[in-house]
Amino acid sequence: MDIPEVKRVSAVKRDHLARLAKEGKRPDGRGPDEYRPIKIERNVIKKAEGSARVKIGNTMVLAGIKLEVGEPYPDSPEEGAMSTSAELPPLASPEFEPGPPKPDAIELARVVDRGIRESKYIQLDKLCIEPGEKVWIVFIDLHILDYDGNLFDACSLAASAALQKAVIPNERYGFGDNEPLPVTSPPVSCTFVKYENFIVVDPNLDEEQIAQARFTVALDKNGDIRAMQKGLKGSFTIDEIKNNIKRAQIHAQKIRKLLEE
């Protein structure tokens, strides 16, 4: 897919958003530090080892977890492995096209992957079956169903929620009973965009379309930073980045509560 480019937004809409931004207002009436309503539903896919459907406003994504037995990486013979991919099917937006994952989908999957990997959310050291020979490989597949902005946070949240209640499919492989996937505490991701020198959390599609810069930070339960990504062609000042992280720490606490419910 291509995240819709600035040129595709009408001048009228861009002017409207710019005018609102000068007054500190957003097109859907939210404050700059207000998320859209978040809804998490777990175990919605029977064939998956874990799954979650997350809605942030009109954005809807589905994360599915599958486990397979495979070979460990040579540098970590006693650890399981994980792999994250994102699919942006044409179902989710008139702008998405079929075909192999494009750079935007790959960036999305890699940013979600880093948050989970660096916070050591999945206890990969407990996923060894035979050292050097057989380990569990955890596949996190993100399926976008409705795209109205902020896929980064929706996907990260869906992945965290799906992993939280995932199982190791021992029965399918004749290893005994299924058991819960060993996880610690999940990372929480928080995304901001900047347009007209206005920085807002949880951008909707209109805001993403005119955004000059994007910033995502994944925080652990102590509010420490586990992954970051600055995207798009514009820039942030050092103070803006610092401020974004502080704002994210407050949001992450609230979102974490939703995951713990």
Binding site: E49, L62, K66, P94, P98, D141
Partner: protein, 235 residues
């Protein structure tokens, strides 16, 4: 043993469908959409268009192109499926496009495409029929003019008995599978595939049963569409 004393492994009678749930207009971005659960299948379908067909050389100056894309989520099956199209999904996309095109008034929208996206999120036998059934509701929800509401259902043969709507085990262990899509008003066949082994007489019986199943399902499709518009209260 798939059937005993006229009762199937999942407790159904030979001519009984699995439970079906259909909801129309579930996606915000799509022009029309449908979420459908059919037994263990979960399908999301979306329709975009009619919109300009691009690149321009694919345009048909006399009519719209109907372009259905059947895609399985990697986590929808027991063993993880590699994302992206394979030979099976490419074939299903083709026959689905053709089945849907035959009921759409494509001549009203020259040089456009009508894109139909079918995402299988959870799979348990009969996904192509479920996909077509969901796509039909999404097309109607998008306001695409059609001469009928297409619908699909499979019949098959297990332990020598003709049954409706095969389950996963029945599909694997059974003797034949016959997915059928029809335009229910005049019973025109829009899609027909078959694999396995049927005598001519068994085929007649299976086709009749599949059509009977289709006519059950079309009631649920209509109900889903009516439900969407019922939610508008008139003061």
């Amino acid at each position: 043993m798939l059937i005993k004393d006229g009762i199937r492994m999942d407790g159904r009678k030979p001519d009984e469908l699995r439970p079906i749930k259909i909801e129309a207009g579930v996606l915000y971005r799509a022009d029309g959409s449908c979420y459908l659960e059919w037994g263990g299948n979960k399908i999301m379908a979306a329709v975009y268009g009619p919109r300009e067909a691009l690149p321009r050389h694919i345009q048909d100056p006399t009519k719209a192109i109907v372009n259905a894309r059947y895609n399985m989520a990697s986590f929808s099956v027991e063993e993880r499926k590699r994302p992206g199209p394979d030979r099976r999904s490419t074939e299903i996309s083709k026959v689905t496009s053709e089945a849907l095109e035959s009921v759409i008034f494509t001549e009203l929208f020259p040089r456009t495409t009508i894109d139909v996206c079918i995402e299988v999120l959870d799979a348990e036998a009969g996904t192509r029929c479920a996909g077509i059934t969901a796509a039909a509701v999404a097309l109607a929800d998008a306001g695409i003019p059609m001469r009928d509401l297409p619908v699909a259902c499979a019949a098959g043969k297990i332990d020598g008995t003709i049954v409706l709507d095969l389950s996963s085990e029945e599909d694997k262990e059974g003797e034949a599978d016959l997915p059928v899509a029809i335009a229910p008003r005049n019973e025109e066949i829009l899609l027909l595939q078959m694999d396995g082994h049927l005598t001519y007489k068994e085929f007649e019986e299976a086709l009749e049963l599949a059509i009977k199943g289709c006519k059950e399902v079309v009631k649920l499709q209509r109900k889903a569409l009516l439900n969407k518009y019922k939610t508008f209260e008139v003061e």
